[in-house]
């Protein structure tokens, strides 16, 4: 039984680290800043999520139920999209190079910075 749990823990740890790696590769390989944001927001959420799931399993099987990791996951899910949005917003205002056609800003950057 404990062998099975160990295997499950290993599975989640490996899955998590591979997705974290893929997310980082995406950061390097994708063509422009907006596409690059897709790597960190997605691949890392499942990556860290799986690693934390492995952590929950490990500590729960050894010293009683442990759910602290859910908290880390919750805060990660709240902050990752916000930081991605801030980055892309900054890139939009700076008119960074983009493969996709940048949307026209109908009200100027000065006006927009007023309401954030």
């Amino acid at each position: 039984m404990s062998m099975l749990i160990d295997l499950l823990i290993v599975f989640f740890l490996l899955l998590g680290s591979s997705f974290a790696l893929i997310g980082s590769i995406g950061l390097v390989r994708l063509p422009d800043i907006f596409a690059r944001l897709h790597g960190p927001t997605k691949a890392t959420t499942l990556g860290v999520g799986s690693i934390l799931l492995g952590s929950i399993l490990y500590f729960s099987s050894r010293q009683g139920l442990s759910l602290q990791e859910i908290l880390a996951l919750l805060f990660l899910f709240m902050t990752a999209p916000v930081s991605a949005q801030l980055l892309s917003r900054a890139a939009l205002h700076r008119r960074c190079d983009s493969i996709a056609r940048l949307p026209e800003m109908d009200d100027g950057a000065e006006k927009k910075s007023g309401n954030s």
Partner: protein, 165 residues
């Protein structure tokens, strides 16, 4: 500040704080429960001014359904992004799509933008709170209309039902 004084200005926030406190301490001992309950009452009272809009949950059961759908989408999002990342980068056709929103609560708009960022192929890039438009960056811009429809039916509609707005 015209609203009358209550001890629970935000019942949802109170419940969330108690759960957070218990998770933080990793225990459900009576002492921690009392302390968590104390924070659950005091913190919303002190931060009332930061939360001007009141939030009500109309359909609690729908939350579970939506959460399950989001988890499923996050997993599939990861696989699709992994495929894009490891495949030829020439195949990527990124584009911006403007999604008009029907919701009018700040919190719900934020929640929707977060969900869009976590799910397949899309990252919300900008929110125009005045015009209620969500600017979404997608990795696959073949059919913007379908993308708008998907976001609206898959996420916006259930969120609207849950929070009754």
């Amino acid at each position: 500040m015209s609203r009358s004084f209550t001890f629970f200005p935000h019942p949802l926030l109170s419940a969330l704080l108690v759960v957070l406190w218990l998770l933080l301490n990793n225990s459900i001992e009576p002492g921690q429960l009392i302390l968590g309950g104390f924070f659950g009452i005091v913190v919303p009272l002190f931060t009332r001014r930061f939360w001007p809009q009141r939030l009500g949950v109309g359909r609690p059961l729908l939350v579970i359904k939506l959460a399950g759908r989001v988890v499923k989408d996050i997993v599939s999002a990861n696989f699709s992004v992994a495929l894009v990342v490891l495949g030829p980068t020439e195949a990527v056709k990124p584009g911006f799509v403007k999604v008009p929103l029907d919701v009018d609560s700040d919190f719900v708009t934020t929640l929707l933008a977060t969900l869009v960022s976590l799910t397949p192929g899309t990252v919300s890039a900008d929110i125009d709170m005045e015009k209620r438009v969500l600017l979404v960056h997608t990795l696959n811009s073949d059919d913007p209309e379908a993308l708008i429809q998907e976001i609206k039916t898959r996420y916006e509609a259930p969120i609207k039902e849950i929070f009754l707005c």
